[in-house]
Assembly symmetry: C2
Homo-oligomer: 262 residues x 2
Amino acid sequence: MKIVLIGAGNLSTNLGKALLDAGNDILQVYSRTFESASALANFVGGAPVTNIDSVTKEADVYVISVKDSAIAEIVPVLCKGRGEKVFLHTSGSVSLDVFKGMALHYGVLYPMQTFSKSKLLNFKNIPFFVEGNDDYSFETVHHLADSISENVHILSSEARKHLHLAAVFACNFVNHCYEISSEILAKHNIPFDVMLPLIDETANKVHQMKPDEAQTGPAVRYDQNIIRMQSDLLRENPIFKQIYECMSLSIHYVTQKKGGNE
Amino acid sequence: MKIVLIGAGNLSTNLGKALLDAGNDILQVYSRTFESASALANFVGGAPVTNIDSVTKEADVYVISVKDSAIAEIVPVLCKGRGEKVFLHTSGSVSLDVFKGMALHYGVLYPMQTFSKSKLLNFKNIPFFVEGNDDYSFETVHHLADSISENVHILSSEARKHLHLAAVFACNFVNHCYEISSEILAKHNIPFDVMLPLIDETANKVHQMKPDEAQTGPAVRYDQNIIRMQSDLLRENPIFKQIYECMSLSIHYVTQKKGGNE
């Protein structure tokens, strides 16, 4: 298929490469800055454009991967005069209805993964969640997803919002816990590397058991002396201290609800 | 070496097996309940005991892996009458000084890992942090650690406290984020499995880049519409909502401090 990428960020870079590798043709890459547009265009093919009005009408599919707040601004300008094409966005939290009244055929192509430009991923096992407003859109988005992943699901906009929230916890907040951990270690001149086997095993464990069964540490034992002492170690950083306290309490609640641990 | 294991929980089970495999001799396993003591004794050898007074005086090393709050209670009883032996505990947050005045030779053997009885780990790459009160204790604990791991470090009690706190974030709180994620998904009948590629990649990423460089999502972009909407999706669970809000704010602070993202 002939594709235009709208956006040249982390997701667009990874998705563009996967779509190219699957035999699609990237006609153009749009970004607000020429630098970003041309960097990605050099990589996946097509011409860089920085003006939405200059986006070609010759593509089959327009894939929008810009930040959520920019989608609603871009859609009306992009869809106008491109009546029969398929428009997709890739956001977890934006409804399919953002296209309503703006285009005839539209859908969502949402990959459940965290992307960075500097780390290109194999898409084969990445779960994709797709949605389409009619049979034609649905077939197009499903076909596109199937061409790059073996793990494609159909999901409504409403359920996708919750899926995205679940991903924020499983990825962004997890990564922030890594960040806090690394800051604590750096303060005591301990290299972050010593955490990697623990980080890997923590992720591995939930392949084999449910997260509440995998839990260990002071909070699940509700060891109040340690909890108080550790919380006090964070006294110079009120927000980290608050995270420590909410997390410990929440682990304790979950443990109590399921009837204790250890 | 001839070893007695004090405690038969997740850590003792994994450590006992590693010590056995490294050619040590487990003489006894102590636990408060006969069931636990005999389960582990059946697995790693030695006799189960449920009374500290029945612990043999014939061992070279006594390895204490009980919950932190129980260490100070067990130490005086265990050390009495076993003057020349080496006593070790395996806790992140308990000082070496818990043994002071109770024994001549003592130390700490702290593995940086999360253990479950049902999942036995290869110890080779697990970082160990050791400490000893004198040359003899230090050599003993270092020798023991070297026999099971290729990743042994020397660390003071004071620094170990902070290391343990860092591990609580990188493991226990990370796992709790997985738990919250799984609860959100379960409510919408989405299997937790769809999160696993994201969980794995989030862990993989910090092998290659620093956590603050790896961050993605609404909070690092400070997309306030999405943050408000997602926080509202958690309105029925005040503690999850509070975690969401602290985490998002904290990610925003870290991002600002390092001068923005995306």
